[in-house]
Amino acid sequence: MSNKFGVYICKGCGIGESIDCDQLVNVASEKRAPAVVHDCLCSADGVATIKKGVAEGINFISIVGCSKRVNSDIFQFENCMVDRVALRENVAWTISREKYPKKTENDDDYFVDNVQLAADDYIRMSLARLEKVKLPEPFQLPSISKKILVIGGGMTGMSSAIDAAKAGYEVTIVEKDGALGGYAAKMRKQMPVAEPYDSLIPPMVADKIKEVQAEKNITVKTNTVVARIAGQPGEFTVTLKKPGETNEFDVPYPLPDSMKVDENGKEYDAEKLLELYKEYNKGKNDVLTLDPNGELFGAVILAAGWRPDVIEGDAFKHLGVGDVDVVTNAQFEEIAAKGKIVRPSDGKEAKNVVFIQSPANGDDRDFNYAGSVTSMVALKQAKYVREDYEDGKAYVIYQHMRTPGLTEGFYKNMQQDSGIFLTKGEVTAVEKKGSGFVVSAKNTLLGESIGIKADMVVLAAGMVPATADDPVVNMAYRQGPAFRDNGIFDEYADSNFICFPYETQRTGIYAAGCVRRSMTIEESMEDATGAALKAIQCIDSVNRGVAVHPRSGDMTFPDFFFQRCTQCKRCTQECPFGALDDDEKGTPKPNPTRCRRCGTCMGACPERIIGFADYNIDSIGSMVKSIWVPSEDDYYNPPMRILCLYCENDAMPALEMAAMKKAQIDPQVRFIPVRCLGSVNTIWIKDALAQGMDGVFLLGCKHGDDYQCHFVKGSELANVRMSKIGDALASLALETERVAQFEAAIDDYDKIPGVINAFVEKVVAMGPNPFKGF
C-alpha cells in the first residue's frame, strides 16, 4: 500500500498573522503533497476537515500548528502516521514580526524574510520525515506469562503479592528464610499505620502472613532464592534454588575489568576475552541458554528488604562500640522482643538508656543508611523503656529528628512521656563508669556540655539495602546480574528516585520497600502497592506489544539490519537498560520487551543499522538535509543555519514554556526533537555541516551522578560522542566550536533562550561554514 500525504495548516494562535500560509501550501506542493489551510484545526470543524481527508485515503498527515505535546488526543487518527509541526512554538511565538518584519513593496527580491524562511523549512522537514517513516507494528511475544515473581517475603513482599493477587494475577513469593515475615516478625511493637498516628501498635505481620496463606493466587516458596532470571518481561525464565546451593543455572558474571588486560595493561583480543570469560564462569550456563525447567514469569517485584548496619571501627570508638552494653537499635529490638529490657552483660534491668542518633564525627550526619525510620525507631524504643519501668528514663540525642507527615503525631505523643528526654546534640564520649556509662554530649539544647548516666547505649544503625551485598535479582543479562551504577544511589535499587518510583534500570523488575530507601512498615506497604501496579502495567503493556515506561504505549521497537552488523558490541554495552545480550561472536540479541525505546543503540551504532519504524537514521537525516541553506548566490548577506537537536523529554517542554512567555530565539536556528540525546547519531551532525549549516548543538538533560535523563545514560553518552566528533571536524578544517552540547532542566525555560542566542552569536562571529554552496 502506498502512503498518501496530506498537509493541514492551522492559522490559529497567531500563526496566520505572522506567517503567509498560502506560501506554505506552495512549499508543500513542491513535494506534491496537497495542503489545506484552516482557521482553527483543533476545532470540531478542523478535525472534521482532516477526517474527510483520511476518509479519502490520506494516511500520512502533517499537522502544521502547535507542538505534539498539546492536543495529542485530538489529532489521533487510526492507522495514520501523524507528524506535528510546531510552527506556533518554533516560529510564531519565538520569532517576532516586530523584529523581523514582513516583506513590503519597497523591498527587493533579496529581502530576507526570516519568519517565513523558518516556516517553509519546517514544512519541508515534516514532509521529508513522513517520506522516511513507516506505520509501526507492535512486537508480540509468541506466548506470554502473566505471573508475577515477588522476591522477599517480608511486609513489602507480602503486601505486593496480596495486592497483585487481588487484582487477579498469579504470584509466587520466594523467601530466603524458613518462614515469611522478614524483619517485621522480629519486633516487639511497630509504629502506627493509621489515624491518629500517635501510639505503638502490635506488629501487623502475623495477620499479613495469614492473609497471604488464605490467598489462593499466591504460592509461597520459603528457603528459596533466585539463581537466575533470564529472558525478558512477559517471558522471564526463572531458576530458583535453595540458599547456598550451586546450580548450573547460577548467573554468570561479566569479566572484571582487571582481568580484561594483560600484565602490560593492554586489553586482550575478543577471542582471549571470551576464553577468560568462560573460564571465569566455569560450570555456569551462558546467559543465552535458557533453563528448560525454569518457571516463566511476566514481571518481577524486588522486595528483598534490608539488614541492620554494623557499626564498628575507629570512627565510632568514642561511642563505646565493642562494649556489649553498647548495642545497635536492631540488637535492642531483639532484646525488647524477648521481654523486659535487660543489659546484655549481666542481665540486669536497664532503666536508663541513651539513644544516640548521630556519630558526630565533625559533621551533623547521621549513621549511614539512617533516615526518618531510625528517628522513629529511637522514639519507639524509648517508649519500650518506659513501658517496662515506671522509673525508666530514655534519652535521645540527635542531630536530626525526622518524623515526616502524619508521623508528627507519633513524635508528639512520645514526647509527652515524662520519662523520654529529647535533645539535639553531639555525643563526644561514651565512658564506662562502674557497671554503666556516662554519655557526654555538647551543643545540646540544655545549653552546655552534659553527662548522662546510662545502663545501656543504643546506636541508631541504618538499614542497608539487600542490594548492597548481593545482586539478589541475578539477571542473566550480558551487562551483569545486578543493577548498574547503584553506587550513585548508595546501593539502593532505584533508577530515578523522584521521577520514576519503583522503576529499576531493568524493565519488568520493580523495586519496593527498603531496597529503595529506608522505610517504615506503613511506607513499605504503600510502596508495595505501587510496585504491584507497575508489574501489572508491565505485563499488560508487553501483552499489547507496547513500551511500558517512560514512553508508555510506544508501539515501535529497535529493528536491526543484521547483515551489516560488525559485532562491535557498542549497542550491547551502551544500552542503559541491558536490553541486548550479544552471543559469542558479538552479534546482539535484542530483547524488545526489555527495551525502553530511547534509541541509545541507534545513536551508538557506527554502521547505522538500528532504527525504529517512525524514528531512524534516515528520517532525521532527511529532515536535516531538507533544511534550505541559503548562500551568497541567494542573498547579499545570507542568514546562517544552525541545527538544534533537542531532547523531547525536558528540553522541549522547557523551550515551549519559553515560547509561551514569548521569549525570542534567533531565527537562524532549526529545531529537531529527538527521543533522547543518547539516540543522536553523529552522522546527523556531519550531514548538517556537510551541507553547509554553520553550527550544530544538542540540548538535553543534565548528566553525571545527579543526572536528569529519562534514560539514565543518554545525555552522558551524547557528551562522550560529541567529544570524539572534534577530530572529525578538525580533519575537515572546521572549528570544533561549531558543535556544542548544552544542559537544560525542565525549569530552565528562562535561561535556555539566552544560551541558544549566545551560541548563535558565537557561530556568527566565526563566519559562515566554508562548505556552504558546494
Binding site: 522509673d391 528514663k393 534519652y395 508528639k412 514526647q415 509527652q416 512521656d417 515524662s418 520519662g419 528526654f421 535533645t423 539535639k424 563526644t428 556516662v438 557526654s440 539544647l445 540544655l446 545549653g447 552546655e448 556540655s449 552534659i450 553527662g451 548522662i452 548516666k453
Partner: protein, 394 residues
C-alpha cells in the same frame, strides 16, 4: 570535662509541675519562639525557652533556685504564639508554685502547711482552724468580759476600749484578742519568709553564677538591700506588666489589688496607732481621711479581684486551684471588709458580726498561709527582681 553538667532528671518534679498547671510542658520542641516573643526576657540567656527544656527534662535544681522564673509576669505573649501549644507562661507559673512549696515546705515545724495550702481537699480544715479559734475569741469577748477585765487589771491594762457606738466589732471579738492573734501570726510569717528568702537568695546567686547570668562574684547583702527601692518603684508602676501585649488589662486589675492592699496596710497601721497610742478605739467617723483611704482601698481590691476573675473565666483552660484560691481570698477579704462596715452603718448588728467573723477568717488565711500560697509571689518576685537588678541581669 570539668564543667560538665550531670543530668539527673526528677520524674516526680515533672509530674508535680504538670499537676500544678504545667500539663503542656512536654509539648515544647525548643523552637524558642517564646523567648523571642517575650517582651521582658533579658538578652543574655533569655527565658522561657531554657526553662521549658529544663522542666521537660525534670531538672529541678536548674529551675527552683533560678531568679528567672520570677522575672516572668505571665503576660501570655509566649503562650499565644507557641506553635505547639506548650503554654510556656502557664508552665513557668506552675514552676513558681512548685518553688513556693519547695522553699516553704523546708521550713521547720510549719513546713507541712505547704502541701495543705495547695490541696483543695484541705481547704475546709485550713478554714476550720481560724473559725474555731475566732469563735472561741468571740465567746470570751461576749461572755467573759468580767473575768478578762480582772486579768487585765492585774497587768495594769484595761480590757474594755470604751466607745459609745451602738454597734462595734470590739463588742463581738475584742480588739485585744484580734491583735493578740494576728500580730504573732503575721510575725511568724515574716520569720518564715526571712528563712526561705535567705535560702532562695543564695540559690539564685549560685544559679546565676553557674549560668553566667551575673557579673557579681559574691553576694553583697548591703548592696542587694540598697537596690530594693529602685525595684519597688518599678513594681508600683507595673513597668514590666505594661510591656505585655497579650494581657494588658490584667496589669490594671493587678495594680488595683496591689494598691488596695497597700492602702489597707496603711489604714491598719494608723488604726493601730489610734488605739494603742492615742487610746482612741473604733469605729471611727466616716469624715476622717484615713477612713476614706480605707474605703477606697477596699473598693479597689473588690474591683481588681472581680476584673481578674472575669478575665480568668474567659479562659476555661486556666483552672489551677492555686490561682482560684488566691482570687477567692482577695475577693472575700475586700468584700467582707466593706460589707462589715455597711452592715454596721445600717444598724444590722447580727449581720455585722457574722460578716466580720468571715472577714477575720479570711485575714487569718492571708497572714498565716501567706508564705505557702501563691500570694507569696509578692515577696519572692520582689526578691528575685531585686536580685536581677543587683546582679546586672541583662
Amino acid at each position: 570535662m570539668s564543667n560538665q553538667y550531670i543530668i539527673q532528671p526528677d520524674l516526680t518534679f515533672i509530674n508535680e509541675v504538670v499537676g500544678l498547671g504545667g500539663d503542656t510542658l512536654k509539648k515544647c520542641f525548643q523552637c524558642a519562639t517564646c523567648s523571642v516573643a517575650c517582651p521582658i526576657a533579658p538578652e543574655n540567656s533569655p527565658f522561657p525557652r531554657k526553662e521549658m527544656i529544663a522542666a521537660s527534662w525534670g531538672l529541678k535544681d536548674k529551675l527552683v533556685g533560678s531568679a528567672d522564673i520570677w522575672l516572668c509576669h505571665e503576660c501570655g505573649d509566649c503562650t499565644a504564639l507557641c506553635p505547639r501549644g506548650a503554654k510556656p507562661g502557664q508552665t513557668l507559673s506552675a514552676i513558681r508554685s512548685y518553688a513556693i512549696s519547695e522553699y516553704s515546705s523546708s521550713v521547720p515545724v510549719v513546713g507541712k502547711l505547704s502541701k495543705m495550702v495547695t490541696d483543695p481537699k484541705k481547704l475546709a480544715l485550713l478554714t476550720a482552724i481560724p473559725a474555731a479559734w475566732l469563735a472561741l475569741m468571740a465567746i470570751i469577748t461576749m461572755f467573759m468580759g468580767g473575768v478578762m477585765e480582772k486579768i487585765f487589771h492585774v497587768i495594769g491594762l484595761h480590757w474594755y476600749h470604751v466607745t459609745d457606738a451602738p454597734i462595734a466589732q470590739a463588742r463581738f471579738i475584742s480588739t485585744w484578742l484580734v491583735d493578740m492573734t494576728f500580730v504573732p501570726v503575721f510575725n511568724i510569717s515574716l520569720l518564715i519568709f526571712a528563712y526561705t528568702l535567705y535560702k532562695m537568695l543564695s540559690d539564685m546567686h549560685a544559679n546565676a553564677l553557674a549560668e553566667g547570668k551575673t557579673d557579681k562574684e559574691t553576694l553583697d547583702y548591703k548592696a542587694y538591700f540598697n537596690t530594693i527601692p529602685t525595684v519597688l518603684k518599678k513594681v508600683l508602676k507595673h513597668t514590666q506588666f505594661n510591656e505585655c501585649g497579650e494581657n494588658k488589662n490584667r496589669g490594671t486589675a493587678h495594680m488595683m489589688v496591689l494598691f488596695g492592699f497597700i492602702g489597707c496596710l496603711i489604714v491598719t497601721t494608723i488604726g493601730f496607732g489610734f488605739l494603742y497610742v492615742l487610746g482612741k478605739p473604733g469605729p471611727y467617723s466616716q469624715w476622717w481621711p484615713f477612713k476614706w483611704l480605707g474605703n477606697i482601698s477596699g473598693i479597689a481590691i473588690v474591683f481588681g479581684a472581680v476584673l481578674m476573675i472575669k478575665e480568668r473565666l474567659g479562659k476555661p483552660d486556666l483552672n489551677a486551684y492555686k490561682d482560684w484560691y488566691l482570687l477567692g481570698l482577695v475577693l472575700t477579704l475586700g468584700a467582707t471588709g466593706l460589707l462589715t462596715q455597711m452592715a454596721r452603718l445600717a444598724g444590722m448588728e447580727i449581720a455585722t458580726y457574722a460578716i466580720y467573723y468571715i472577714h477575720l477568717i479570711a485575714v487569718f488565711h492571708l497572714f498565716a498561709y501567706l508564705p505557702f500560697s501563691k500570694l507569696a509571689h509578692a515577696v519572692y518576685r520582689l526578691a528575685a527582681m531585686t536580685y536581677a537588678e543587683y546582679a546586672n541581669r541583662k
